[in-house]
Structure formats: C-alpha cells, structure tokens
Amino acid sequence: MTLVRSILLRREAGIVVMIFAFCLAVGLYKPHFLTVQSLRIILLLVPLIMIGAMAQMLVLVARHVDLSIGSILGFSAMVVGLMYREFPDIYWLVGFPVAILTGAFLGLGNGLLVTIFRLPSIIVTLGTLSLYRGLTFIISDARQINRSVIPTELKAMSRTSPIFDIPWIILIAFGVALMTYVVARHTQLGRQIYALGSNPEAAPLRGIDVAKVTLVVFTLAGALSGLAGILYASRWGFVNPSNTGAGFEFQVIAAVVIGGVSINGGVGTVSGTVLGVLLLGCVSAALPLLGIPGSTQNAIYGAVILIALLIDRSVRQRGVTSLSRAAS
C-alpha cells in the first residue's frame, strides 16, 4: 500500500498519466495515432530535445540556466559541416569528437564567465546566445551547408538501425539519458551537483569545490549540445546559420520543466525529464494529425511551461504545509 502510494505520489506518475490520457484522447479522434508507425514518428521527433534536456537538467539542478545551448548546437553543427566541406576525404566519424569538443569548449566559456566574474548565468548565456550565433554566421560566411556535403553514413544514422528497427539517433539519445542517470545518481560529481543546487551557501562548507562543479556542469551541457549539433546534421541533412538550433533552448526548457526539474535547483530526475520530452513529442506529433497548424507549436510550448511552473509551485506548497503539519 505504501509502495503503491509512494509511486503514485511521484512526479513521474503524473506525467505518465498525462501521456496516456493525451494519447487516448487523440487516438479516439484519430485511431491512426495509436499505431507503431506513429510511435516511430514521435520517437524520431525527440532525440535532439532529449539530449538537450539532459544538458539543461544538469544545469538547472545546479541552480543555473543555460540559454545558449541552441546557439552552441548551431555552432558545433556548422564547424562539423565546414569540416566535411573543406576536407571531403575525412573519415565521417571524426565529426563526433569534433562536434562534442567544440560544444564543450563553448560551454566552458559560459562556465568561466559565470565562475570567474560571479555573474548570473541567465544574463551570461543571454549574451553568449547571440555571441555564439553571430560567430556561426562569421565562420560560415552566412551560407548554408548543403545536403551533398554531409556524409551519407551520417545521414543514414537517422534511418538505418542496428537493432529492432530503431534508428541510431534514437538509441544514442536514450544512451545519453542512461549515462546522465548514472552520473546523476551514482557518482560523486552527481551528488555534488545536487548539493550545490540545493544550497549554494552550504556546498563549500561541505568541501565541495563550487567553481569546479559549475565549470564541469556548463562544459558537460556544451558537450551534449555539440553532440546534438552533429545529430541535427544527420537528421535534417543540412546546417543553416540562422535556423539550426534557433529556439532549441525554449523547447528544451519546456521539456525539462514539465519533467519536474525545479528552477530553484537541487531537484530533478532523469526519468522525469525523459517523460517530459516524450510528452512534448506526443504533442508535436499529434498537432498535424489533428489539423492544427504548426504555427501554434510555440504558443503551446509557452503555455505548457507556465502551467508546469504553476503545478510545480502547488506541489511544493503542499509539501511545505504537510511538513509543518507533521511538525506540530
């Protein structure tokens, strides 16, 4: 009984119920939505957001926020695209370390600004959001990387599959989620990130090197955004200096906030974030089926963030009142 109760009280249970209710509602109206094929469509929509959400989750848990991940995605994708264009003979897998390192480097830049100058991360990353986007234009001379330049093997990762007909990029995304889970729950670094976010004043007293943890978190977020960058090139087969990754940070924040990651730091689970990403994926896949134009997507994302914030607050409030009742 208590086990069932504790499962039902978890944030994840609420999201699962929302996903099922949403899919059933859409399925009643359009039975086509409840097929394996549409599951495939949903899963193909989410890998980039999934990876970005893992990055943003770590940052939010450490009580920071990173608005620049969309620009990091775009910059890394552009670096890789330029590499493929200038060195057509290069082995295609080299793109992965290049993209990840590029992203990590930009993420480290954010981290250094935040730690050295003690600046609020939201303003720093608002600045680097446009700084990195501008650099993307500069290195690319404002021209797009075309389909023919991206190696066929890389593009094939979004269609071919090693196992169960599940494309590579979906497997990579879930692999990243699994690794984030291990880091968050079973490593010293993970515990330090949670401790730092729960109470930044107490963290150094417990012997946590705040600057180091902050740097690592931003660098990891950058590296994951870089990985998302090369997967963007795989999924869409082009890199555009203005479109690639634009608005990505907002989709990611929406997913993470739905997933129950607290904006006040210290709270958030990988499972919740994954479910939040899946819920967003279901919504995105259902819109065209229901005949709702794609232009409504951003409004829905925005509304979802606001509602998730309100739910989050009421849950927290109930926790506080039940605690004080228990104390008296």
């Binding site: 926020v65 608005l67 600004l113 100058f117 003690r118 600046l119 609020p120 939201i122 303003i123 720093v124 608002l126 600045g127 680097t128 959001l129 446009s130 700084l131 990195y132 986007r133 501008g134 650099l135 993307t136 234009f137 500069i138 404002a142 200096p241 907002f250 924040i253 929406a254 906030v257 904006i263 006040n264 134009p293 232009s295 409504t296 997507q297 951003n298 409004a299 829905i300 994302y301 925005g302 509304a303 963030i305 606001l306 914030l309 309100l310 607050r313």
Partner: protein, 329 residues
C-alpha cells in the same frame, strides 16, 4: 557627571573627493563611452557629425529604448522581465488584426494597449502573486506571447492603414516624434525614480526586500504596478513600431529582449537590483545607436553586429559588477 570620558570615537575615513564619486559612477563610464563612440564614428564617416542622421537612426530603436527605460525600474526593484519584446510583437499583431477586421482605429489601439496590460498582469500574477522567479516566468511568457503572435499572424504580414503609417516621419521642432516621446518618458521616469517616495521605495525593495517590508513598504503592490506599466508601455511601443514599419509580422523585434537588457546593463543598472538610474539607460540607448549605425556604416555584416552586442552585454555586466564591488564599502 559631565567630565566622564568621551566614548572612543571611531576613526572616520576621509570623505572621498567629489570628482572621485562622480568618476566611479557607471553613468560616467557610459557617457565617456558615448563620447568616445561619437568621435570614433565621426572618423569612420562624417555622417555622424550630422545630428539629423543620428536622430533618424535613433527612430529605428526608439521603441525598444522606451521599453528599456521601464525595464530599468523593474530591474532596480529586483525583478527582471525578458518578455517585453514578445509583448511588443503580440500587442502589435492584435492591434493590426483587430483593425484589419474592421474595428475603428482608435478602438484597435485601445485593444492593443489592453492586451499589453493583460500580458503585464500575467507576468505580475506568476512572479509576484505566485512567487515564482520572474526570470524563468518571463522566459515562459516570452515563448507564449511570441507563439500567440504567430498563431494570430501566421506567416503573413498584416498591413496597417496608410493614415496610421509614419510616426517616424512626424517631426516636432525638427526632431522625430519617437525620439521626443523617448526623451519625455525618460524625464518623467527619471523624476519618478529620483524625486518621489515611490522611487526611493523601488530602490529600497531592490536593495533589501525584507528590510523594505519591515519599513512598511508594500513591495508586492509596487512590483505589480511596475509589471503592469511595463506591459502597457511595451504595447504602446509595439504599436509605434507597427506605425513605423507599416505592417506587422509575428517576428517583430525578434530577440529584442537582448538589446533591452543590454541598454539597462550598459547604463549601469545592477542586475541584482537596488542600483541604477534612468539617466544611465538613457545614455546607453544613444550609445547603442552610435555603435549599431557605426557598424552599419562600416559595412559590417548583421551577424557580426550580433556578436558585438553579445560581447557588449557580457563586458557591461562585468564592468558594472566590478564598479559596484569597489564602491560597496
């Protein structure tokens, strides 16, 4: 008795000379940068010695500058709002959409302004009533407002009637009307912030909200008021932009939140609240016009301008934090 030994007096630090106090004010830095930028730009192109040219350039960002003035007060009170640019777009879209549907122009303007007020009220409800951090709330409303604008306008641009076009061509004593409005709003807000009780209370709330509450200041009421004013002014700015451009699209001033925050930061407003002046933001708005038209005259790509704005934001906030850390004692 009278001859008890006097209490040991603490050694007073010598008063800092006036020039020292003036020099370390961030507005002074902004002003020097402005002069420096003007001189540098006039070497670049003699256009910059022509006041008319600068005034005409200023009309391009006058709407955002007006909003930045109010945003400065919000930041001083310890909150932030990233949604005004999206608010401008949505208010302008609602205004254009309503009058396109046949509603008389004055009523359409009022509808647009009310929409902006409602958006400010949503921000106030979420951040003040629900006590959620305004920084994340306004990211949510930023996406939401911009998304609603996209729903209303789609991919098309909505035209506004010819009689309404051209606010930037209306001249008052040779000065474009948007610039006149900007100056008047700056004077008004400067007086409110600098000379009234409400102004002092805004500084107190931003410096230490707890202490302000104990001093009997109704912090919630003042902050709600600031969000409402910001929503209303953003809507007015959006409608002004519609008049200048002649048509409205959902991506009106896309990314404008960066420039608004940048103006406040460049003017020396402290991001954690409690410090900053309208004068600083006023000067910073001119500085940004010089910088961006300078870059346009120098034939720099818009992308490079984006990079420069990003760097400027980071440098400005580092410099402001540094100055305040030095003068804290």
């Amino acid at each position: 008795m009278m001859n008890s030994t006097p209490a040991p007096t603490r050694e007073l630090a010598p008063a800092r000379p006036t020039w020292h106090i003036v020099l370390v004010r961030p507005e002074t830095m902004t002003f020097l940068l402005l002069l420096f930028g003007l001189v540098g730009a006039s070497f670049l192109s003699p256009f910059f010695l022509d006041a008319g040219y600068i005034l005409r350039s200023f009309t391009l960002t006058a709407e955002m500058s007006i909003v930045a003035l109010v945003l400065t007060m919000v930041v001083i009170s310890g909150e932030i709002d990233l949604s005004p640019a999206a608010n401008m777009a949505l208010s302008a879209c609602i205004f254009a959409w309503v009058q396109d549907a046949g509603v008389p122009l004055p009523i359409a303007v009022i509808v647009g302004l009310l929409a902006g007020l409602a958006m400010g009220a949503l921000n106030a409800f979420m951040s003040i009533r629900m006590q959620l951090p305004s920084i994340i709330v306004t990211i949510g409303t930023l996406i939401f407002f911009r998304g609603l604008a996209q729903v209303i306008a789609g991919d098309r641009s909505i035209r506004v009637p010819d009689s309404f076009i051209g606010i930037n061509n209306v001249m008052i004593a040779g000065i474009p009307l948007p610039v006149v409005i900007f100056v008047l709003v700056a004077i008004l807000l400067g007086l409110v912030l600098g000379t009234t009780a409400v102004g002092r209370q805004i500084y107190q709330i931003g410096t230490n909200q707890q202490a302000a509450l104990h001093a009997g200041i109704n912090a919630k009421k003042i902050k709600v008021g600031l969000f409402l004013v910001l929503g209303l002014v953003s809507a007015a700015a959006g409608i002004m932009a519609a008049s200048r451009l002649g048509s409205v699209r959902y991506d009106l001033v896309l990314g404008g939140e960066l420039q608004m925050v940048l103006m406040a930061m460049l003017g020396g407003t402290y991001i954690f609240g409690g410090r900053g002046t309208i004068l600083g933001t006023f000067l910073a708005a001119w500085l940004l016009v010089i910088v961006s038209t300078g870059m346009t005259v120098a034939n720099l790509l818009p992308a490079i301008q984006l990079t420069v704005l990003g760097i400027l934001l980071i440098v400005a906030i580092i410099a402001t934090n540094f100055i305040y850390a030095r003068t804290q004692r």
